[in-house]
């Protein structure tokens, strides 16, 4: 088997795939009759330059780090968790239930960790069932996680328009998190120390996201469990032969994946909205798949990819204001193209590259 040099595999090929995706998007913009360079400038300004823009970008990045990590942990076990969306949704419910039960009695210092645990636990629960069904009943994880996204969404609609609905609201949304159960926003927090920051929903969750990255790296590459997980991902029979309890590993991996996805809720629900709204995960669970693919399932890669997609999302919302004919859904299009080129078509350049570059290694 030939191996490509690392710089090609981890730098050149992802960059080529990314360029291709943007090139196609540029053609679409030209077909619409606008200048792609103008559109790109608007997006870059919207994502980084305007006041508070960077905060929004990092706020989206935080959510995407959680869902990206979630998908990647399952990837390492060669499991495909398309259920991050539903797990994040249920994670919001977990945080909300903890908050509603305890926020009248406990101080912030206890409330925040407890709510995080609630979010992670509910996310894990929503991944546990598909994981268990895959491990012990052989039902395909892709299909069950898709089904669980819809089942979760149905349950949430029922709850948000039913027993958890805030009285006096016309739209289904939940009761509120009190201040002691909300994640402090960074512009407030830093304001206390006299540092001025533009207003944005960026909050303390980003610190937890960074911790989660480090934790996942430690878990996957520096523990015996992580080694077993990667062995299983590479070859299930080999792992089984080496004494790895495969079914139990599948369930645990899915639970960790679901917990990470559930923690996305602490960013949006506790850090920004202060309530659970209808469909709050807003596709971030699916974007997490793109993030994990782009980031090659490595925490460093995931941070970079999450930043890229965070910037795209924030910059894309600026398109609505600047152009009559281009909307923020352009970002969805770019996202689809990135998943296509760097995921499904990731092998497209490999044979060509191998002919060109791998020869040196054989000789």
């Amino acid at each position: 088997m030939t191996r490509l040099p690392a710089w090609i595999e981890y730098l050149l090929i992802p960059l080529m795939n990314l360029t291709l995706a943007f090139a196609v998007a540029a053609v679409v913009v030209m077909l619409i009759g606008e200048n792609p360079i103008d559109a790109l400038t608007v997006m870059i300004n919207g994502a980084f330059v305007y006041e508070g823009a960077l905060g929004y970008t990092l706020y989206y990045t935080t959510s995407l780090i959680f869902t990206g990590l979630a998908v990647s942990v399952a990837f390492h076990a060669s499991l495909f968790n398309i259920g991050a969306e539903g797990q994040a949704y249920l994670g919001g419910l977990g945080a909300l239930l903890v908050a509603l039960m305890l926020q009248d009695w406990l101080p912030m210092i206890l409330m925040i960790p407890l709510c995080i645990i609630g979010a992670a636990a509910f996310g894990a629960l929503w991944a546990l069932i598909p994981g268990w069904l895959q491990a012990y009943r052989g039902s395909h994880i892709v299909i069950t996680t898709i089904m669980f996204n819809f089942i979760g969404a149905g349950i949430m609609v029922g709850l948000l328009s039913g027993s958890l609905m805030r009285p006096g609201q016309s739209n289904p949304e939940s009761l509120l998190f009190e201040d002691n159960a909300r994640m402090p926003q960074l512009h407030n927090l830093l304001g206390e120390f006299g540092i001025e920051l533009g207003r944005s929903p960026l909050n303390l969750s980003i610190v937890f996201a960074a911790l989660a990255c480090f934790g996942v790296w430690l878990l996957i590459w520096r523990t015996r469990w992580g080694y077993a997980l990667r062995t299983m991902g590479a070859s299930e029979p080999a792992a089984h032969y080496a004494g790895v309890p495969v079914p139990r590993m599948i369930v645990t991996a899915m639970c960790i994946s679901g917990a990470l996805a559930g923690m996305m809720a602490i960013n949006t629900v506790m850090g920004d909205q202060g309530k659970v709204t209808l469909g709050f995960p807003a596709g971030f669970g699916f974007t997490g798949i793109a993030v994990a693919l782009m980031g090659r399932s490595h925490p460093v890669g995931i941070i970079l990819a999450a930043l890229l997609f965070g910037a795209l999302l924030q910059g894309g919302s600026e398109l609505d204001f600047e152009f009559q004919t281009i909307t923020r859904e352009m970002v969805l299009l770019i996202q689809g193209l990135i998943i296509l080129f760097s995921g499904a078509l990731s092998l497209m350049f490999v044979p060509w590259m191998e002919r060109r570059f791998a020869r040196k290694e054989i000789a």
Binding site: G33, R137, G158, L340, L345
Partner: protein, 322 residues
Amino acid sequence: MTYLDFLLIFDSALRLATPLILCAMAGLISERAGIVDIGLEGKLLAGAFTAAAVATLTGSAWMGLCAAVASSVFLSMIHGFACITHKGEQIISGIAINILASGATVVASVALFQRGGQTPTLDRDERFSPIDLPSTEALTDIPWLGPLWKELISGHTIPVYIALISVPLIWWLLWRTRFGLRLRAVGEMPAAIDSAGVSVTWLRYRALIIAGILCGIAGAFLSTAHGAGFVREMSAGKGYIALAAMIFGKWKPWSVLAACLLFGFLEAGANRMQGTPLPIVGEIPIEVVLILPYVATVILLAGFFGKAIPPRALGTPYRKER
């Protein structure tokens, strides 16, 4: 409830099941050839948009239908290019197609019509209108049969009948023709087909083309027969329910049809029952009914009633031995 009420529920169930039947048949043929197709949703959505857009621009529902088929086949070919030609991951490609479609349809409709992602409302003659089957008049006065014919069997749009015909057609194609035998073999054991000198690649591509055509018709049904124009995300998860129905029907056309009708009936019943309490259980929230197809599919997949066995080579790209 009267006989007529039942007929009306079945009538609406049939209409709700139409996109499910077409998409599930598309999924069936593609998965029988060994290609996982979770891009049904995206193809359905793309079809719905193109049908409405082209029908508006040309004034003809048939042109819309043709365009819907073309766009859906185009997405199918992207899927094929990624999964067959480049041996990419089929699930990732399917997700890409779904996201691509949900972005592209809104981008295109804003660029073309500037109505916030909708297409203009279609006129009567830009849509498929219900057709009355022959002898509806003659049968009207006959008790039972008359209303049955008038309410349930006659008076649907052409795509509904296409959906119903597609089931025996797919069955015939897969189980009564040489092409079908080979296509099913390619989903079970592609190496055997390859050693018989038949192209695995071309067989799988043809399966995807047929799947694309069916999804395109389903899309056209949504926007130019059932509805009167495209609204964003109008497929609303129907592609995924079709996927569930396909698994629920264990990859067999007639069982899949039954599953689609069942899911359609659940939705129609739920719509109808909304707000009326049932005996014993009381009022059931519509959300609960709407998740039943998914719950049922999960239970089936878990092997608690019967086993759903997918085609053996499903999801694995074929590599020629060297």
